[in-house]
Every structure is written in C-alpha cells, then in structure tokens.
C-alpha cells in the first residue's frame, strides 16, 4: 500500500523526515518497506518564460531562445523543439541540474551557439500526457520540413510558393504571425499569394515564415494525417516537444517540483491481512495519529445535491443474494461531463500508483484510496429497466469485463445485473457493457459491501485478482459504504463533473451491532510480562478508538467498544497487542523463563542420524540437501518396471512443474542428479551423503509414511565397489550392528549393475542396498563413469543398533598366527570360505582375515588361490604349535569338504 504524505497531511500532521517516519510507523506495527521522494532526482529545474526566439543561424530546425528564469539576466537556450512561442512558460533545467533517470544537464554549445541549459518535455520530467492531458502536442505539416521519400518524384514541388495549389482546396500558405489564445489554441495569419487569411488552429508548431498546407475551404491548417503523409516525409513534424505550462500563479524562477507535483513523498507499507482497514489513506492516518498521539482530522462529506429527477423513480435496487451482500449503497449523478480530473487529483492518484483516466473514474479510484472502500461507477443508460439486481450468476452466464475478456460464470459468482443481463462482476470488475465512456451523461455510483469469501473464490476461479477484490476478500467495514459514496458525490460537485441527485439508496441486509470486548489490564500485564498501569492501558486503546462506553480510563476490567473497522480485535490477546504496540514492544522487559525445568535433548533416532553423519564425513563423504519432489520420469531413468508398485507416489496436483510434481519413493534419483551435476561441473571425484526422506502411500489420515534413508553416492578414481562397502562396514561397525552380511539380491535390482550389487543385512534384517549403478542408468543421466550408490533404511539401522559395549579382558597369553592359501573353484565366494574356516575351527580361532586372491601361473584355469591370515589363541594358556596345527588341520578339512578348497 502506497501512501502520499501530502494526502496524509490532510488528515494528520506529522513533522518527521521519511526515515524517522518509516521507523516509527514500523515499530508501531505498520511495516514500511521503503520511502520514495518523488522529486529526488530533479534538482535546479525552474519555471522559465520565453522572451524571444530566433532561428538558429546554422540549423534549419533549431531555435535560439532568451528565457527569463527569475534571475537578473535572461539566459540563452538552444532547442530543437518547435511547439514553443514567445511568452510560453516552460520547465527549464538550468546549468548543473539533474533530471529523472540520473540525467545531468550542463551548459554547452549547439552548432556553435551557446546554450545554458535545457527546456524540458514531459518525458524528460518522468511524466506523460496522462499526468498533463493538456500537454498533448498537435504538429502541423510544415512544407519547409518536407523531405520527399523519392527525391526524383516529390509530391510537393521543392520550390512551392504561397498560393500554389497542392490538391483540391488545399493550397500553400506562408505564416506571417502566430498568436497564442490559450491551451493549444492559436490564431495564425497566413499569406496565400493573392491575399491573407486568419485561421484558428490547435497546431503548436507554427512560426512566422513557415510554409503550411492550408485547406481554404475548411480554413484549416493541415496535419500529416490530413495530407495522408508519412512521418518520414516530415521528419520534424512530431507530436513531441517542450511541456508548455498552463498552471495558475507560476512565475519565472519558481521551483518546478511543486508545479508538477514532484514535491510529494510516498511511503510504501506492508499491510498484514488482518488489517484491511489500513489499505486506505484514512486507515493509515488513524495509525499515524495513534502512533504519534496527535489529533486526527477527519472530514465529513457534504453533498449539495439538487440534481434533476427523483432517485427512487430512476433507480431500484434488489438484493436477492442478501447473504452475500450485507450492504448496497448507491447514488446517482446526472448531466455528467467526462473530462480529465484536476491536477491535484491526478497528482495524488499518481503518487499512490494509480493511473488517471477521467474525472468519474478518477473519483472512484480516489475514494477507494482514501476510504479503502472499492467504488464502481456505471453508465445509467445501460441499466435496463432502471433496476439493479445483486444476484448469483446463472451457471454458464457470460459477461465481458472491463478488460475486454469474456468471463464464463458459475452460480458461485455474484453479479450486478439489470433486469436482463449482468452488468458487472460484483466486487471484482465492472462489465464492458456499462462502462463510463466519453458521452456518458448519467452515472450510478455503487458503494457496497460483499461477502469476502464469495469474492475471493470468485476472483480465484476466474484468475483475476483485482485491487477491489483484494480488498473485499479481507472483509470490509459495512459502515464505510455510505461516507464513501457521499465523498464521491462531494467530489463530483467539487470538480463540476455533474449534478448529484438527492437521496441515497441503501440496502442493509445485516443488523449493525456494536462489538464489545472485555478489557482486563491485569491479564494484559500477565501476557506481556509488564506492569503498565490500567489507566495507561486504556489510554493506549483510546488512541485506536477502542473506548469504554463512558470513554473513561477505569482502574480495572471494563467492557470496551471496538470500532467497526477493527474486525481483527476479538479478545484480550488482541487488546494486549494494541496496548503493546503503543507502549512499545521494545519497552517490554526481557526475562528468562521460570517455572518447571524441562530436560531437553535428542531422541535416539536423532542421535543415530548424528552418528551416521559423522561416520560418513570421516569416510570423506560430503553432506548434500536434495529436493523431496522429483519428476515421474525419474522412475524410468532408474529402470523401474512400469508396474513396479514403488511407483505409487504422492502426486502434487498443483506443482511448479512436471519436474517437481511427485514425492519421491526413492532417494536414488536425487543422488544421481547431484552426482551428475558434479560430474558435469568437471569435479574429478565426489563422495556425497544425505539423510533424506522417502514418502510412501499408506500413512495415517491419508498422509505419507515418511521413512528416512541414508543415501550415499560417489564416483572418481579412488571409488570402487569395495571402497563404498568399506564405508558402509565402518558405519555398521560404529553402530555395533551384529552379523553384518552383503549378499547378492534375491530379486534383481534394475537400477544397479547385476554383478556388483549387494543387499546389506544385519542378522535377518535387510538394511538396504549398495553397489555400482547400472551402466544404462548412468548413461541415461549422461555420465560416462562408474557411479556407486547405497540406500540404507534408517529405521532398519535403528533396529540393528547393537547394545552398549561391555569390557572384555585383554588377552593375557600370546596368539599363534598361521597363513593358509587354498585353491578353489572361481565360483566359491570368499564369504563361503570364511564361513567354512569359522565352522572348522575348534574354539581357538579369534580372527580370520583375507589377505590375497591370486589367479594365474601355478593355479589352474577356472580356479583361484585365496589366502587368509588366521589368529589362534587360548584365553587360559600359551598355545603350543601342535595345538594350533591341530586346529588349522581341522579348518582345512572343512574347507575341503564344504568348498572343495585344497591347501596350496
């Protein structure tokens, strides 16, 4: 919400610079986003009056002007603009001045002639013709500016002289004198060869000596359009030039900023949704008045009325959808003269970010900004039968709104209709069929209160949130409709825009009741942790018009009346906030919590997560964060079959895009995406981990089962299957998981390399899967490297966590070590050999570790030699070599029996 400080000062006077004002308002609850000095960029620009002008000695299109700028001596400025005349008041950017857009003006020479500044056009001042409609420039087609498109075939002879016929009644004429009669009104004396005529024209570009095309029949000086000529043929004949000021009371030397309304400051507020009342100048003025504790001067609109006709005869209002329209207020204006609105109104609208259009439309916008009450004006002649009906739309009913769009409505929409058709979409936008146009004469002003939810849903369904709907949807104060419509009528009279009819149509579909809340100063202090005296609290409330019936400041609890515009104040907590706002949030003391102490901490699951993270980092893995939503095509990319039940995902109905439209049921695609990204960034290797969630259907209340998964992924020179396996073993060891096994999956896992994948077990519990990503999957991701991933379920890891360690006495007797190498079939796994070794041992074997696998010379084809280091020890004595040998012999026996492995 933008606020013009000039406009604000009409209601409340505050002496504070923008920065202090912003800070003070922010601290009382009206957050200021930024402040803006409208004239910040304009400096050293004044009003000047053209004393004389001569053609530039060295240019066919420039003028040398002497200008009174309120200094002792006039200054000289060279310009290329043609719309100026001696006596014109113009904006002059003096030597060392600045203009919007950071433009700097300094004196200099133009084609050898000194120029001490610049006369400004509208655009150079950051304005356009909507701000100053009278500044529209109509250029004449000057024959001395004529440049034929084809020099060989000119449409107008180069040596044309006054009196020569151009076509029909159009002849060449020479201007001998120009008199300025008013805004865009000139009288030009023209010599036509034989004699001379005096012609009225709105063309601003004429000067003595110019040759023009004169329509003798119409007594009209031709424009480009009249001659059906192209711009290129008359290069200097453009609707642009200097902004000729027609403002009362300005004189040479005056600062330009107040003249063009650039002396205002605009403050941009962030208004929270609970305070729709602050979406208006008056609403913010109330806050400013309460914040600074200075009086608020509100204005009661006074309407003279007396327009011809009887309102009740001309207009009837019915509200069949009374539940959606608590109040409908309307007045009528006749003999409307559509015209631009006055400068002060345009300036204020513009300062608040609203584009001026015409007096009637501007009045509705002005009132909406001032009162926060959306207004609508429609052309009475299109209200068939003189009857306004506020009803639900029929299913499929169509209405073309003001923006030219055809809207298809449903029964959930509320429309303003006449007896035959809808003429407006209530609270959202008017209909094109009843729009105010240039020849509108009779206008109905609607100032109504509609149901917020209905407007919000209606606007949402059509995808057209407008300024009006945004206000209505928050719920407006029904008591505001009447002052607002009266204010509109008052402005009509002030602007002389029409005649207001006596009387008001006011349909009330609710019973206004004062809103009473019990105030309890002790409760407020208890909530805030303060010790503010009761009377002081009531005084703060009074600042925002929350008062007791007697308007006193009692010393204890009392009933207070909440003003109609403060629908957000419902109970003691809201009153506490009002007190706190004006007492000052930063004056509330700071205390530490008392009361029963609680024992904080982390749950076992959270501690497990911390452990997993720290082991992963010790193993060199970096932590990542990935999105929980993925593209449905991800399941294809990881080669899950079409009928894989794991494809059943939570699907977002309104996703940002297909890529983020389903909740992942696997962390694999997220990890692969990040590995790919790093690979594409040419990072040589990467080791990554994340504790991420997967979202499986079937949770309580239709929610998801959100399982956490430790996702690991890596690639690079030092990566292979066993590097990843080692990290996982480290993790499982850290959590003291028992009986850890890695087995080829019983069901093939299509995402992984079929020969380099293992399911990870602790006992009978399957914890997850690890291995090399299937080359086809890597290829789909565009990675030409071996990717390794692991997915370990946190729930299973949690269950596999071993108990706290118990001290085992250190060995007292020395161990005997034996290395054995056995030859077996290639198909026999190391795991099977280890199992056989443990099985064969007779109680002395403490450790067995693989140290070599050999294939080649000395070992038959299809066989391998596997070497283990065995550690044997007894707890109660030193072993003899014989004892150790007996055990080893037994072990070799079992290796032979179970695995066909023979000592090498």
């Amino acid at each position: 919400m933008n606020l013009s400080r000039k406009w604000l000062s009409e209601f409340v006077v505050v002496d504070a610079n923008d920065k202090d004002f912003a800070e003070t308002m922010t601290l009382s609850g009206s957050k200021v986003e930024l402040t803006h000095d409208l004239g910040e960029e304009i400096s050293n620009v004044v009003v000047g009056q053209i004393l004389s002008m001569e053609r530039h000695p060295d240019s066919d299109h420039m003028w040398v002007c002497r200008i009174d700028v309120g200094q002792a001596e006039p200054i000289q400025i060279v310009t290329g603009a043609w719309n100026i005349h001696t006596g014109d008041m113009v904006p002059v950017a003096l030597h060392k001045s600045t203009l919007p857009g950071g433009k700097k003006i300094e004196k200099g020479k133009l084609r050898g002639v000194e120029s001490n500044g610049m006369m400004c056009g509208l655009s150079e001042l950051g304005l356009d013709t909507r701000d100053f409609p009278y500044a529209v420039i109509t250029p004449a087609a000057l024959l001395n500016d004529y440049k034929p498109l084809d020099p060989a075939k000119p449409s107008i002879p180069v040596d044309i002289q006054p009196g020569h016929k151009i076509y029909g009644s159009v002849v060449c004429a020479r201007i001998t004198a120009v008199r300025c009669d008013g805004v865009n009104a000139y009288t030009a004396a023209c010599e036509v060869g034989s004699g001379s005529v005096s012609v009225s024209t709105d063309c601003a570009t004429l000067h003595a000596g110019d040759l023009v095309a004169l329509d003798t029949k119409k007594e009209h000086i031709c424009t480009l359009e009249d001659l059906h000529a192209q711009q290129a043929e008359f290069p200097h004949c453009i609707p642009d030039g200097i902004f000729i000021l027609h403002e009362e009371g300005v004189k040479p030397g005056d600062d330009l900023k107040p003249v063009i309304g650039a002396d205002d400051h605009v403050v941009e507020f962030e208004i929270t949704p609970n305070r729709p009342d602050c979406l208006s100048v008056i609403g913010l003025a109330r806050e400013v008045s309460a914040t600074y504790d200075v009086p608020l001067k509100l204005h009661e609109p006074v309407v003279k009325g007396g327009g011809e006709g009887s309102l009740v005869e001309l207009l009837d209002v019915e509200t069949p959808a009374s539940d959606l329209c608590p109040r409908y207020t309307a007045r009528m204006v006749r003999n409307v003269k559509i015209a631009p609105s006055p400068k002060w109104m345009r300036e204020r609208l513009r300062a608040m970010g609203v584009r001026p259009i015409n007096n009637i439309v501007d009045i509705t916008n002005y009132v909406m900004l001032e009162y926060g009450q959306p207004m609508h004006a429609f052309d009475y002649r299109y209200v068939k039968g003189g009857k306004i009906i506020v009803r639900r739309a029929q299913e499929g009913e169509e209405l073309t709104t003001l923006d030219g769009q055809v809207r298809k409505l449903t029964a959930n929409h509320l429309v303003i209709a006449d007896e035959t058709r809808a003429v407006g979409l209530a609270g959202i936008m008017g209909g094109e069929n009843s729009e105010i146009v240039a020849d509108t004469t009779d206008v109905v002003f609607e100032s109504a209160c509609f149901d917020g939810t209905c407007i919000r849903k209606g606007a949402l369904a059509l995808g057209m949130r407008t300024e009006a709907s945004a206000k209505f949807e928050k719920g407006l104060d029904p008591l505001n409709t009447l002052p607002a419509v009266n204010r509109a009528c008052e402005l009509v009279e002030l602007l002389g825009a029409g005649e207001v009819l006596d009387g008001t149509i006011d349909v009330l579909n609710y019973v206004p009741q004062p809103h009473i809340v019990t105030m309890d100063p002790d409760r407020v202090n208890a909530l805030l942790g303060t010790d503010i005296p009761a009377a002081e609290q009531y005084q703060y409330l009074e600042r925002v018009d929350i008062v007791t019936e007697k308007k006193d400041f009692p010393n204890g609890p009392a009933e207070v009346i909440i003003p109609s515009w403060r629908g957000d104040v419902e109970g003691i907590a809201d009153l506490a906030e009002e007190v706190a706002r004006f007492y000052g949030y930063n004056k509330i003391p700071t205390t530490l919590m008392r009361g029963q102490t609680t024992l904080g901490g982390y749950s076992p699951e959270q501690k497990l997560e911390q452990t997993l993270g720290s082991v992963c980092r010790s193993c060199g893995y970096d932590e990542i964060i990935t999105y929980s939503f993925i593209s449905p095509t991800c399941y294809d990319k990881i080669r899950w079959p079409q009928d894989d039940p794991r494809r059943q995902s939570f699907k977002i109905l309104n996703p940002l895009g297909e890529d983020t439209s389903i909740m992942r049921t696997t962390v694999l695609p997220s990890m692969l995406e990040i590995l790919t990204r790093n690979y594409n960034f040419r990072n040589k290797s990467a080791k990554l981990y994340e504790v991420g969630r997967i979202y499986l259907p079937g949770g309580e209340d239709g929610l998801a089962v959100e399982n956490k998964v430790l996702s690991m992924g890596a690639y690079g020179e030092d990566m292979d299957f066993f590097a990843l396996k080692g990290a996982i073993e480290a993790i499982l060891k850290e959590i003291r998981a028992q009986d850890v096994r890695f087995e080829l999956p019983c069901q093939p896992n299509p995402s992984y390399h079929p020969g380099r994948v293992a399911d990870v077990y602790a006992g009978a519990r399957r914890i997850g899967v690890m291995g090399q990503i299937h080359p086809l999957v890597a290829q789909t991701y565009g990675v030409d490297a071996e990717l390794y991933c692991a997915e370990l379920d946190l729930g299973q890891l949690m269950c596999s966590k071993g108990t706290d360690p118990e001290y085992v006495p250190l060995p007292k007797f020395p161990a005997v070590t034996r290395d054995i190498a056995v030859v077996c079939d290639e198909a026999v796994t190391v795991g099977a050999l280890e199992t056989a070794i443990r099985k064969g041992a007779r109680g002395l074997l403490k450790e067995v570790s693989l140290f070599d696998i050999y294939r080649g010379k000395g070992v038959a084809e299809g066989k391998k030699s596997v070497a283990f280091n065995l550690v044997l020890r007894a707890d109660d004595r030193s072993l003899t070599a014989e004892e150790a040998d007996t055990d080893v012999k037994a072990i070799l026996e079992v290796l032979k029996q179970d695995c066909g492995a023979i000592l090498r």
Partner: protein, 341 residues
C-alpha cells in the same frame, strides 16, 4: 723406558684424536693396547727393570694405559655423535612438501547453522521434534487459526495432493505446534526443524522447498517478556554477545500479540547499507504469544496456561552466517561449494 712410554702416549693420543671412524679407532686400540700392541710390548719389558724402578714405571705404564683407554672412549663417543649427526643430516626432509591427504567430508552449511541452533535450544531444556511434511491442511491451517480464505491457503501458494485441499505439503513447521500440544504433557518446550514447501519459483532468494525451525513453550505464567528474553539469549549465542535486536509488531494467525524480531545489521552496524536495504536491521524470525484460540483448539485452557512460539527461516540464517549470496547454491550441492565449510 720412561721415554718409550711418553712417546707411545703422545703418538697414540694424537692418532686417536685424529681417528675418522670407529674402525680406525678400533685399529688404534689393537695397535697400542692389543696383545701384540705397542704398550703391551713395553710392559713386557718390565721384568728387565730393577725392583726399585719397577713400581714407579708400573704406575706410569698404568697411567698411560688409562689415558689411552679414556681417549678411545671419548673419541668413540665423539665419532658416534658425528655419525648420528650425519645420518640425521641425510634424513633431512623438505617440510614444505604437503602432508598425506586425509579427506574428511563436510557438513552442509545449512545443517551447520541448524545444529548450532538445535544445540542452543537443547541446552535450554528444549526437546527436538520431527514431524511429517505431507501434512493435513487442518493442522497446517485450521488448527493454527488460519481460516478458510487465508491467502496462504490458495492453490497458488501451497502444494496440495487432493482436490478438497485436505492433504498438502506443509507450508510451515507450525503444525508441529499442534502435534506437540496434542501429544505431549505440559509444560512443553520444543523446537521442530524441518522442510517446508511453498509455491515459489527458484531464484536467488526463493525455493519451493526450504527449511524452518519452529519453537514453542507452553507453561503457566509464560509472558511476552520471556519470549524476548529467550530469543535474545539465542541471538547472542548465535551472533555474539551484545548483538542488538528489536521487536516489531506483526501478524500471524496463530499468535497474538505477534512480532517479528530483527537483528542489527552486522555489516553497517545499524546505519543502513545495501545488505539491510538501508534499514539498519535484518529480519530474523516471526514470533508471538500463542493465540488463545489455538490453545483452546488443543484443549489447553488459555486462562491457566500461556505460551509463545517462533518460526525461523534456516536458509537465510545460514546464508547470513556464511555470507552466501545465492540461495540456489544451497540446493545445487556442488562439492566445490560444500567443501568450503
């Protein structure tokens, strides 16, 4: 004989002092003290001496022997020292050669920031809660007093899983307040960090998924002054003692009174600069006293109990903590970024 002994002594001592190696020294020992050594040879002549001469000469000979033995020992030690010195010299390293790499992984900067925050609150007796991200709109909105019609409920703002807008991706961690109130015994002190989702396109400051930390305290006689005191303590622990804060009135449906907490801009010290958009303050979190309606909906009597709650955006905190300029870096997971922390 006396002259002979003196000569041996002088020659031997000179030779021993000049010995360059243990082997050379050893040869000298044999040369003089060995069975066939020069001194031994002289001693063998003792028998030829008269009885009067013998004791004096014997003493002299012993002195010479002792002198030689000592010289051997001294020189041996010297040589050992020299040898060690040489070895050490030979073993000299270029200490500027880099050490053998131990590659440790890195915690994600956002979790570094989160872990700091968690530890601070745990130290103050808070329990850390974890909850669902696929959440009921009832808990995310209704039970938090955000009635139907609240703008954040729009489909343009929030992700939904069904046409009835019943199941959604939580748009804030605040439903954890309700879950805590519904399941925990009073008094309650919790924080609940986690992922939240809003329909924002990705840019330098927005992401459809981001993280928040929710905090809540419910007890008898809890006040807004407690809220301020606790949060100020947290900020001092996060940003250093003496960090200035301010509280501004704000609006959240589930707290009343509500506030936003700002910290003074670390860059300009409150004067105003581009970092703080000229305000001198940077918004840190939203907070407030739990709305009586919210307590009532969870069956807690607002006349007996009161509480406060806050919600804090984590990404922004991490970005400020590590001076990260673009939010996209957080989710890009480039190891060149990750390994800086």
């Amino acid at each position: 004989m006396k002259e002979q002994l003196a000569k041996i002594r002088a020659e031997a001592l000179a030779a021993m002092d000049g010995a360059q190696s243990t082997a050379e020294l050893d040869a000298l020992r044999v040369q003089y003290l060995g069975k066939k050594g020069e001194l031994t040879a002289v001693l063998k002549q003792m028998g030829k001496l008269s009885a009067e001469e013998r004791p004096a000469m014997g003493q002299l000979a012993n002195e010479v022997r002792a002198a030689l033995e000592e010289a051997i020992e001294v020189n041996a030690r010297k040589l050992e020292e020299k040898a060690l010195e040489q070895r050490l010299e030979a073993e000299k390293l270029d200490v500027t050669i880099p050490g053998k790499q131990v590659k440790l992984g890195h915690k994600h900067p956002m979790y570094i920031a989160l872990d700091e925050i968690k530890d601070i609150f745990v130290g103050m007796g808070f329990t850390v809660l974890d909850g669902p991200e696929v959440e009921l709109a009832e808990l995310n909105f209704d039970r938090l007093n955000a009635e139907e019609g609240h703008p954040s409920r729009d489909w343009s703002d929030t992700f939904y899983f069904d046409e009835d807008s019943r199941v959604m991706l939580r748009s804030q961690t605040s439903p954890m307040q309700v879950r805590a109130m519904d399941t925990m015994e009073l008094p309650i002190r919790i924080i609940a960090p986690g992922r939240v989702y809003r329909k924002d396109e990705v840019d330098a400051t927005h992401s459809p998924m981001f993280h928040q930390v929710e905090g809540m305290v419910i007890d008898k006689n809890v006040t807004m002054a407690d809220l301020k005191g606790t949060l100020n303590t947290v900020v001092e622990k996060l940003y250093g003692k003496g960090t200035k804060t301010r509280f501004r009135p704000h609006h959240f449906p589930f707290t009343e009174p509500s506030c936003e907490m700002d910290v003074q801009c670390h860059k300009c010290g409150g004067v105003g600069c581009p970092t703080c958009k000229g305000e001198g303050w940077i918004e840190l979190l939203g907070a407030g006293m739990i709305h009586p309606k919210v307590l009532e909906m969870s069956g807690i009597d607002p006349k007996e109990y009161s509480g406060w709650a806050f919600g804090m955006g984590l990404e922004r905190t991490a970005m400020r903590r590590f001076k990260i300029a673009d939010l996209r870096l957080i989710f890009e997971n480039d190891i060149r970024f990750l390994e800086q922390f």
